[in-house]
């Protein structure tokens, strides 16, 4: 019983790592540009499909397929920011939300047209073995997601704390106007945030392949970014990770013990968080000064 529970927890954390990655991508953009990116799911879906095409149709080796799709997604992300969102800089939130939604819809449809709407047989990333850890068994897929998440967190941490660009991004996130005055290329920072976010989403999608099969409806998983990010705090990167893990965990446990509310549970959690503490676990309470 206990072993089963622990295994479910492990699987939940594995799933949660994917949600954490998606939430990371989402929060990164929000923190840097205050844009709510509803196209996160679409980006997460597009990356693995690119990878799939490169490997299956163009016979790229797996590592090269991953590398090229990452680069492509980075360029796409930067492109979306530069060409579509740049013109919408001062607009009210509704316009920007709808703009990202529209981008998401376009990506979804184009992907559906190119690759069809059925699940697709994906190349194997890692052999499908069980991993025994501390007495519980995790599938290799879940282990992969946890490992990737940890690596990414470390990389991002180093990037933000110790590189000039990372610090510039933090500055822009806190006060765009001053960042301009200090000579930081704010537009460049925005595009860079989008690029990094797209890369993270791409990686999230790729590690998701072994868990859920590769199909265009993967976009739906992108919606999980919302409960995760809100739970953790929209402007907080550690929050996104923690939020994603918790959501993944609760969803997994629910699907095992309370299957009826499995689909609604993340959203119920989201609403509860919004009612009790809208800023999330790590967020800061913003109050307008009069």
């Amino acid at each position: 019983m206990v072993v089963q529970l622990l295994e479910q927890i492990g699987a939940g954390i594995g799933l949660g790592s994917v949600y954490a990655l998606v939430a990371l991508g989402f929060v990164l953009i929000y923190k840097a540009t205050e844009v709510v990116n509803f196209a996160t799911g679409a980006l997460m879906m597009l990356g693995p499909f690119l990878f799939y095409s490169l490997v299956v149709f163009f016979h790229f080796p797996i590592w090269l397929g991953i590398a090229v799709s990452i680069v492509c997604m980075a360029m796409l992300g930067a492109g979306i920011d530069r060409f579509i969102l740049r013109g919408l800089l001062g607009e009210p939130m509704l316009s920007i939300v709808l703009a990202t939604l529209a981008v998401g819809i376009i990506i979804d449809c184009v992907a559906g047209i190119i690759w069809g709407f059925e699940p697709v047989a994906a190349p194997e990333l890692i052999p499908n073995q069980a991993v025994r850890l501390v007495g519980i068994t995790l599938s290799s897929a879940h282990t992969l997601t946890i490992v990737v998440l940890t690596l990414l967190i470390i990389m991002l941490f180093i990037f933000f704390r110790h590189t000039k660009i990372g610090i510039a991004m933090q500055a822009t996130a806190q006060n765009q106007f001053s960042a301009y005055m200090m000579g930081i290329n704010v537009g460049g920072v925005f595009s860079l945030s989008w690029a990094i976010s797209a890369v993270i989403c791409c990686i999230a999608g790729i590690v998701l392949i072994p868990i859920s099969s590769l199909h265009v409806h993967m976009t739906h998983i992108g919606l999980m970014a919302f409960p995760a990010a809100i739970l953790g705090g929209l402007s907080s990167i550690p929050g996104a990770v923690v939020g994603g893990l918790i959501i993944g965990l609760t969803e997994n446990l629910a699907s095992y013990y309370f299957p009826l509310i499995k689909d609604s549970l993340p959203f119920i959690v989201l609403i509860l968080v919004l009612m009790i503490k809208p800023e999330g676990i790590f967020g800061i309470h913003e109050r307008k000064k009069v």
């Binding site: 509704l94 529209a102 047209i113 009612m275």
Partner: protein, 358 residues
């Protein structure tokens, strides 16, 4: 240049500032009346659908355009209205008109509940909360099979008032048009009354509204309720028209479509809702015509129309955020001021950073 001189206070409150506009309205009503006679069944069905979308548009104009509350989940109220109406008529045997009003009421109740988060949350969080609520409602509808038939859907009996059954296109069309006109009048009255003014104040600055004694709670919750009521009525009309409803009809994408409807139509006005409703109903036809003109290999691709919608939406957001109604007003402005019109009048101010959050 045409100048309208206002001499009494009543001139500010009137619906139209010049009496001739009432003639245009009369003309329009006559036109609408005669459409079934020379329109053809297909066109008629499009206009009926436009009617549903107009009512939805009105509900969102009041909620988002006037009161400034964003709802990403309006399809849920639409769904609640549709399902309630179906259940009232087929399982409880209530007369159609009563069922329609009651299902509006049920949607209103749901709306009041959804409105509660709006009290503490600002735009973004509210949008996300409404989206989450919509997903939950959708899930409930899908899972509550004993009541809603789950994914198998429900079949809806045709509407009838006192023995007169609305089973043909023209009859339903007239029913819908009457209801649309009534809801439009009610919405316009709200806009020009003190209640509407308080909603606008709420949109601009909650703090100042409170300082002026406006009970923010009352207005936020009541407008959610009212908006949901309208959406519920539209849902009920749709259900009895379509004859069969499943949860697939009421997805998140539909909520997005509703928002597209008001942005493209024009966010701030009743006319915008009408234009948006027409757009939403007629645009699939337009897309079909365009795809037929395209080279052969592009035909028959699913999802191409969605791409068009999304592209049109992006175009409007970037270049014409006031929608068709805004475009119309700009054209009127141009002709009113001809030849003194300056090209830069409507140029957007270029911004380099986002304003501080309100």
């Amino acid at each position: 240049m045409r100048i309208v001189l206002k001499r009494e206070y009543n001139d500010y409150i009137k619906v139209f500032d010049r009496p001739i506009k009432w003639c245009w309205v009369a003309l329009l009503l006559i036109l609408l009346f005669f459409i079934p006679f020379f329109g053809g069944t297909y066109f008629l069905s499009l206009m009926t659908m436009a009617g549903f979308y107009t009512i939805i548009g009105l509900s969102l104009i009041l909620l988002t355009g006037l009161a400034g509350q964003i709802s990403l989940g309006h399809a849920a109220f639409y769904a609640v209205g549709a399902y309630s109406s179906c259940i009232f008529v087929s399982k409880l045997g209530l007369p159609f008109l009563l069922a329609m009003i009651l299902s509006g009421g049920v949607a209103c109740m749901v709306g009041l509940v959804v409105g509660i988060p709006s009290l503490r949350l600002k735009d973004l969080y509210l949008a996300i909360a409404t989206m989450a609520m919509a997903f939950i409602i959708e899930d409930v509808i899908t899972k509550w099979e004993s009541l809603t038939g789950g994914t198998f859907g429900l079949s809806v009996p045709p509407a009838s008032i006192g023995g007169f059954v609305f089973d043909t296109e023209p009859k339903y069309y007239y029913l819908v048009m009457v209801i649309v006109v009534i809801t439009m009048m009610l919405a316009k009255n709200i806009q020009r009354s003190g209640y509407g003014r308080a909603l606008a104040a709420l949109r601009e600055s909650e703090i100042a509204s409170q300082a002026m004694g406006i009970n923010v709670t009352y207005y936020k919750i009541s407008i959610f309720g009212l908006s949901a009521f309208y959406a519920g009525i539209a849902g009920s009309l749709y259900a009895h028209y379509a004859g069969f409803i499943t949860p697939e009809n009421f997805t998140f994408l539909l909520s997005i479509n509703f928002l597209i409807l008001i942005i493209v139509g024009g966010l701030g006005s009743v006319v915008g809702a009408v234009l948006g409703g027409l757009y939403m109903s007629l645009i699939p036809e337009g897309v079909k015509i365009i795809t037929q003109m395209l080279p052969g290999f592009l035909e028959g691709i699913i999802g191409l129309d969605l791409i068009f919608y999304a592209l049109i939406l992006l175009a409007f957001i970037s270049y014409q955020p006031e929608g068709f109604h805004g475009l119309w007003l700009k054209m009127k402005f141009y002709w009113d001021h001809f030849p003194l019109y300056k090209k830069g009048t409507f140029r957007k101010e270029r911004k380099f950073y986002r304003k501080k959050i309100k």
